[in-house]
Amino acid sequence: MGRKTSKSIIDGRNISIRFIMLLTLMIIVILLVEFLILQSLLAQGENLAPASSENIEAGKRIYMKKCQYCHGVDGEGDGPASAFLDPPPRDLTRARYKIISTGSGELPTDQDIFNVISNGIPDTSMPAWSSLKEKEKWQTVLYVKTLAERFDWYKQIKKVPEIVKIANPPHATKESIERGREIYMKKLECWKCHGESGRGDGPSAIKLTDEWEHPIKAANLTKPWKFKIGSAQKDIYRTIITGIAGTPMPAFLTGNTEEELWDLTNYVTSLGIKNRPQKTTVLRPLFIPGNLTEDLEDPLWNGIEAREFTLFGQILLAPKLYTPSINEIYVKSIYNDKEIAFLIEWDDANQSSPGTTEEGDVIYADALAIQFPSQIPETPESPRPFFLMGNPTLPVNLWLWNSDSNTFMEANAEGVNRKKFQSEKNSDIKGKVAYKQGQYKLLVKRNLTTSDKTDDIQMEYNKFIPIAFFVWDGHNGETESKMAVSTWHYLFLEKKETGRNVLYSILAILFTIIAEIIFVKRIRRNAISTQ
């Protein structure tokens, strides 16, 4: 390839300008596409599929491919997956929908059904159906409506469910929230189900069932991101005035003034956790120069950011737990030269002590375990124990607490059914637990190193130490391998090595200066020699 031929075409400057223009164009196109996708997601789109028999047929085909495995062939909520889900899939034959814009016990609008298919429902296994196109979703809406006779009947009597009109929310003043609290505690007694702090732990919550006799939990009002009905003020207000069809949540429209209902809305909103703890793969305890507190309520904890660890049901080994009741825990941690302490908080609507209920259901102890490998893997890539309580070649060290004996114990395990407790005199952990208004607070503390170097994890600085958590809710039939688990995360105790870092930085300066001198000298010499 001669330079002559290419020169006319590839004029250096032109090509790079063209290149930059092309790049800018690409950015614009990508942004535009993203914008359009977002638009289509937000669009209160018009129904793309009129109620023709072809569209209903198409909807049926989609339903049989995508929906029936949970909602059942006939829509009765009895598909093959339904046995493993809590809350159970909706029985579509009764047309009792939770997430609606219409009045109490009314039929949903088409848009309501469409929205649920598009967005899914938080804290359930109803996903956002990203694999369906807009039109397909509308076709599914049409078919789903044929599953319940009520839709037909409404059509015959020409009744159109009315959308509930909600005025703009008033400002949530302190006074309004305080008045809302009065209503929550006294007038309407919301606390009886939702609990004094809103964690769904009220005295009446335990025996709630829905229209289908399925047990149902009172919503935990401190976690608004899990609200199925949405967490905007208007969503909460609508739910208060219309109730939720098919559930024990009543409609409170009558007997209350609009102001009272907004006050209550504001109070419910105020119960939500202000800053939802962030998830993390690396838990970094805070270094505390002095002694580590042993007080659960020490104000020091307020200044430490909690981290969320998400849990899932142990469905790897039988007996399995498909529907864990505790889906996340919040962890704070501190350390000093000698010790490390964890403060773990989790919501559990019932404090369990082993026994049986009046109905004959077995109740187990509530419990929690922190898991470490018995030995820190050399590098993050080195093999580590199986996250589910280890394996014979790579055992784990467990720090356990249960509500039965209310003691802290250490154990080692080489698998779920191969757990051995350490003798009491070998135990190096100590801790405290408190249960209050639907929430556990657990503090556990240990020396960074112990005398038992083979069985106990020896904490080291500046190392990625695998850490995992297990939680059992005794009221949910959880015991032994029926538990909520996390996968491995990391614990990282930082020790600043300022001296070493400064040395390397100085070296970096020196090398750069040498490189600069060589560079400048060469260019100058070349310039002279070419002159």
Binding site: G12, R13, S16, F19, I20, L23, I27, E34, K66, Y69, C70, G79, P80, A81, F84, S125, P127, W129, S130, S131, V282, R284, T310, L311, F312, G313, I315, L316, L317, Y322, N327, P377, P380, E381, S382, P383, R384, F386, F387, L388, N391, T487, W488, Y490, E494, R500, N501, V502, Y504, S505, I506, A508, I509, F511, T512, I513, E516, I523, R524, A527
Partner: protein
């Protein structure tokens, strides 16, 4: 618009960085971003040295600052620029070094191989099964394919969808809690790159059956060989391909005879 080559190239690299960092979804992991940027810089470098004139254009602004200028006024200005650049550069390098040395907040890179080499043979419930060249036996029975898809779907929704999701995109309701996330079967880099026997191996042996390349063995994928029958597994494999519209990779026409 008359800018010199040097600033053009600089702008180009910055633009590439911005595109890679902010425009592309899902976000590129930082380690990969460094790698891509290295490729970009390397490509730009090759582009510059591919043409002598281009190289001169590129170097001229640098030279004009470094080489002593006869005009004392310009030389005065150049001197200031030189001091500034050559003084700040080592400082910047030092700060960069220091920040990178102080312990990062990131998760350490786990250089696990996503699709490690499968074994030639596995023991499925103590029965030897040769993975190499193994085909899905149910595919031969074309008459009943629809029935198998249907039954495979039931297997999927009773066992798999909790993690891998209704949409088969790895977004089941347990997925949030998993690290690494469950496999996304709709990803073109996933099942369409693999033979069905590979899926059979991964499904039956799970995370614990991963070879050494798969360390640190974080996968929460259960081993299904004691839960599902051989036929169940082949059925669910058919369902996964059918439902995502993917085609399994085929074995070479003439399988290796060893």
């Amino acid at each position: 618009m008359k800018t010199d080559k040097l600033s053009q190239i600089f702008l180009l690299v910055v633009a590439a960085f911005l595109v890679l960092k902010y425009v592309i979804h899902p976000r590129i992991p930082s380690s990969l971003l460094y790698f891509y940027m290295m490729i970009v810089i390397f490509a730009v470098f090759i582009y510059i040295i591919s043409d002598t004139k281009l190289l001169q254009d590129f170097l001229n602004p640098i030279k004009s600052i470094i080489i002593k200028n006869e005009d004392p006024l310009i030389e005065e200005r150049n001197k200031e620029a030189r001091m500034l650049i050559f003084g700040l550069l080592p400082l910047a390098v030092a700060v960069f070094t220091y920040i990178n040395l102080s312990v990062g907040t990131k998760q350490p890179a786990e250089l696990r191989s996503i699709h490690p080499e499968p074994p030639l043979q596995i023991l499925f419930r103590e029965k030897p099964l040769r993975i190499l060249g193994l085909k899905n036996p149910l595919r031969a029975d074309k008459k009943n394919l629809n029935k198998y898809i249907e039954e495979g779907a039931v297997v999927y929704f009773e066992n798999c969808f909790f993690c891998h999701g209704d949409n088969l995109d790895g977004n089941g309701h347990f997925a949030e809690a998993l690290n690494p996330r469950p496999a996304d079967f709709t990803d073109p880099g996933s099942i369409s790159q693999l033979q069905e026997s590979y899926l059979f191996w991964r499904i039956s042996k799970g995370g614990q059956g991963l070879p050494a390349e798969g360390t640190p063995w974080n996968s929460a994928m259960p081993s299904w060989e004691n839960v599902l029958t051989e036929e169940d597994i082949w059925k669910v494999i058919i369902y996964i391909y059918e439902s995502t519209g993917m085609e399994p990779r085929r074995w070479e026409e003439k399988p290796l005879n060893r």
